[in-house]
């Protein structure tokens, strides 16, 4: 084996504590060190993922106590895939923002990079951990970093958005803690595999209460309706790269946590139907709200909520094909929505109110950014031959296999809504007359690099979806096999 999953947590924490010291001696190091850490972790996770696909999951115990007494980390095909995706996007966020914060004082810049790194680490921890209380701790880490990054510009609106997020986040933490208390009071253990093994002995009233509290608590992180009131404000007020990090990394970890709870820990069949229904409501609500938006980032935020609804529906189908489609949707959403956030925030960079109208006619003066935005818009609505097409196709196939014809009809109608509001923007960019007061902004080299990498992935996956489907199949098989998970974790010895 090349390394251990615990390094995904230990190394960034070490770096976060070192940065303030190193920053006193060499100021540039606060920007460079997080990047080095992310590069190292990304290579480590790619290596481990290769190992896991051949040899089965790695269970890492901590402090020498085997489960269920100690905490353990699980690096399987499913969690490993998500970790690799998150670290890759995290690295791009770092590249994007490396020069972005040049004009900011040293002290806030230092804090920005520490908080960004911990946001990524916390999300990775949520995915890796095999212990519900440990997951709660990582959710706290993500939460605190996210509130601070939202308020980074210290304006009135960003403070309001951050405060809203803080209130919602604290409420969700309270619900999570109550759910954990209920489970612990019934089973006397916090280990996910141990709970999953014994959950059938718990009285239904406690089981259902705990499940509801878990879903409410995690739903806030996963932008589930009606708990997503924070999202549009936060996305439109946070710095551009941070918005991309929320859509690509943080929300993914929230969805992962819900899925782990529903698929592995609880054995309640109705939870799947619940996911379908709540996912559909989220989708309908978000897409109808998105079409009404006049501001760029708010539109992207509602679109992001809608996509998460779609992912929840796909997970709610409950078959392996459904999980496969959901993972593909998650992958595509992470890549494409990051691209849209990067390109979108440059298109409205110099516009004061960030209106969609302000992008009119920028196609000539900002050719590359406009092209990448259009590419992202085509891909996310599911036009062939881009990446988004395949995930929607697999989703519809999975739904058809399970006989959910009504859902297919609804999804297709919603897709038309999506097409309308994305094409409206693309149309404005290319075919409208230029707004006089908007000055085009040249993207920095780093930003351009991040956007082009994402754009290339969108095109390459569009033409060769086989590059990713193999690993997605392994990941979805891994999630579906609950007994295997329990046995793997509980049979580990020191």
């Amino acid at each position: 084996m090349v390394g251990s999953p615990v390094l995904f947590i230990a190394i960034p924490l070490l770096a976060a504590f070192i940065i303030p010291l190193l920053g006193m001696i060499w100021k540039e190091s606060v920007r460079i060190l997080p990047g080095l850490v992310l590069v190292y972790l990304l290579t480590l996770s790619i290596n481990l993922l290769g190992y896991v696909l051949d040899n089965g999951p790695i269970i890492e115990i901590i402090a020498g106590w085997t489960p269920p007494w100690g905490i353990n980390l699980v690096f399987s095909a499913f969690s490993g895939f998500l970790v690799t995706l998150m670290l890759f996007l995290g690295l791009l966020v770092w590249i994007y923002s490396y020069r972005f914060k040049r004009n900011v004082d040293f002290e806030p810049a230092k804090k920005y990079f520490i908080l960004l790194m911990m946001l990524i680490t916390g999300s990775v921890g949520i995915v890796l951990t095999g212990d519900i209380f440990n997951q709660f701790v990582f959710i706290e880490i993500v939460g605190i970093s996210a509130y601070a990054l939202t308020a980074f510009y210290t304006g009135r609106d960003s403070a309001e958005a951050s405060f809203k997020y803080l209130i919602m986040g604290s409420l969700s933490a309270g619900f999570l803690l109550l759910a954990i208390v209920i489970l612990y009071s019934q089973l006397g253990t916090l280990n996910m595999a141990d709970i999953a093994r014994n959950i059938h002995t718990v009285k239904p009233v406690y089981k259902i209460t705990a499940l509801i509290f878990f879903i409410v608590g995690l739903g806030i992180e996963a932008e589930m309706f009606p708990l997503n009131g924070w999202a549009p404000d936060v996305y439109s007020q946070a710095p551009g790269p941070v918005g991309a990090a929320f859509a690509g990394i943080v929300v993914k970890s929230g969805v992962y946590a819900i899925i782990r709870i529903v698929y592995t820990i609880f054995d309640i069949e109705g939870a799947f139907d619940f996911l379908v229904i709540i996912g559909l409501i989220t989708l309908l609500f978000a897409e109808t709200a998105a079409i009404k938006q006049i501001r760029m980032k708010r539109m992207l935020a509602y679109s992001s909520i809608g996509q998460m609804g779609l992912v929840l529906v796909a997970f709610g189908i409950g078959t392996e094909a459904g999980v496969f489609a959901a993972l593909f949707l998650m992958f595509n959403h992470a890549i494409i929505k990051s691209l849209l956030f990067y390109a979108g925030s440059y298109l409205v960079f110099n516009s004061k109110e960030k209106y969609i109208n302000d992008v009119s006619g920028l196609g000539k003066s900002m050719p590359i950014t406009s092209f990448l935005f259009a590419l992202g818009a085509f891909a996310i609505v599911g036009l062939p031959p881009f990446a988004g097409f395949w995930s929607k196709l697999y989703f519809l196939i999975a739904a058809a296999d399970s006989g959910m014809i009504m859902i297919i009809a609804l999804i297709l109608i919603v897709s038309i809504v999506e097409i309308v509001y994305y094409f409206r923007v693309v149309n404005k960019i290319y075919f409208s007359k230029k707004e006089a007061h908007v000055v085009p902004q040249r993207p920095t080299f780093n930003a351009l690099f991040s956007m082009i990498v994402l754009g290339l992935i969108v095109i390459i996956i569009g033409f060769f979806p086989d590059l990713i489907t193999g690993i997605l199949h392994d990941a979805s098989r891994d999630l579906m096999d609950k007994t295997d998970y329990i046995n793997n974790v509980l049979s580990i010895t020191h």
Binding site: S4, V6, I9, A10, L13, L14, A16, F17, I18, P20, L21, M24, E60, I61, I62, A63, G64, W65, P68, W69, G70, I71, D105, E107, P108, K111, Y112, I114, L115, M118, G125, F133, N134, V137, F138, E140, I141, I144, S145, Y147, A148, A151, F152, T154, L178, I182, S185, Q186, L187, G188, T189, L190, N198, V205, Y206, T209, H494
Partner: protein
């Protein structure tokens, strides 16, 4: 009307919550296969730690503690970055009512005693009630007292930053040493010694002392940042 609906919903939720939790027998031993017995047995036999809470916090669930320490670190960092633009120069801190001579003299007398108590609490975390978090908080209250009593008292941000960073680095380093020495992160790699001795419990007291330093420095930093906030 809206308020009535909200109140009714809250009441329904409160009733549901109360009804659920009322019938859980907290404190009564009905766990058939929980972790309780294992923790109680291994705290004394495996780790030679006299305080079970400490052994759970630092060893069995030491990873959570590392996470919680990080949460505190992030909260302090976040506060620093958000209030950055509103920070005073050291001399400018204004107090509405300056403290009297009695308060000042008393604080000077109490300060070393408070620090000593804090240090005692976190050094003996594995033997008696208390530990790193509690000891660190006591130390921070000592600094708070001095900051309130003396208008011109100031703590160096650099020193606080160095203390908290060093404590955090050493925490993770001890974890990684356990990884090298024992095979898992945060594992005990030192001799555990005799139950009840000051030098017992392997890495448990060392980590708790580091937590004490870290929490003390961070909370002092938070208090200092907030006290120096400018009014607009």
């Amino acid at each position: 009307m809206k308020k009535v609906i909200v109140l009714l919903l809250l009441a329904a939720f409160g009733y549901y919550l109360a009804a659920t939790f009322f019938y859980i027998d907290f404190g009564i031993s009905h766990f058939t296969n929980g972790v309780r017995d294992y923790y109680l047995a291994h705290t004394v036999n495996g780790l030679s730690v006299a305080n079970t809470v400490t052994s759970i916090v630092v060893s069995f669930r030491g990873f959570d503690t590392l996470g919680e320490v990080t949460v505190l670190f992030l909260a302090a960092s976040a506060l620093g970055s958000i209030l950055y633009k509103r920070r005073h120069k050291y001399e400018e801190r204004v107090v509405l009512f300056p403290s009297s001579r009695i308060v000042q003299a008393g604080s000077k007398l109490l300060f070393p005693a408070i620090i000593l108590l804090g240090v005692y609490v976190f050094i003996h975390g594995h033997l008696s009630p208390g530990g790193g978090f509690q000891g660190g908080t006591i130390i921070a209250t000592g600094f708070l007292l001095m900051l309130l009593a003396y208008q011109d008292y100031h703590v160096s941000h650099n020193i606080l930053s160095i203390v908290e960073s060093m404590a955090g680095i050493l925490f993770v380093t001890f974890g990684l040493l356990g990884f090298i020495g024992g095979g898992t992160f945060l594992e005990n790699f030192l001799p555990v010694g005799e139950l009840g001795d000051l030098f017992s419990g392997g890495v448990v007291p060392i980590i708790y002392i580091l937590v004490g330093f870290k929490v003390g420095a961070e909370l002092t930093g938070v208090i200092y940042t907030v006290l120096n906030e400018k009014d607009i």
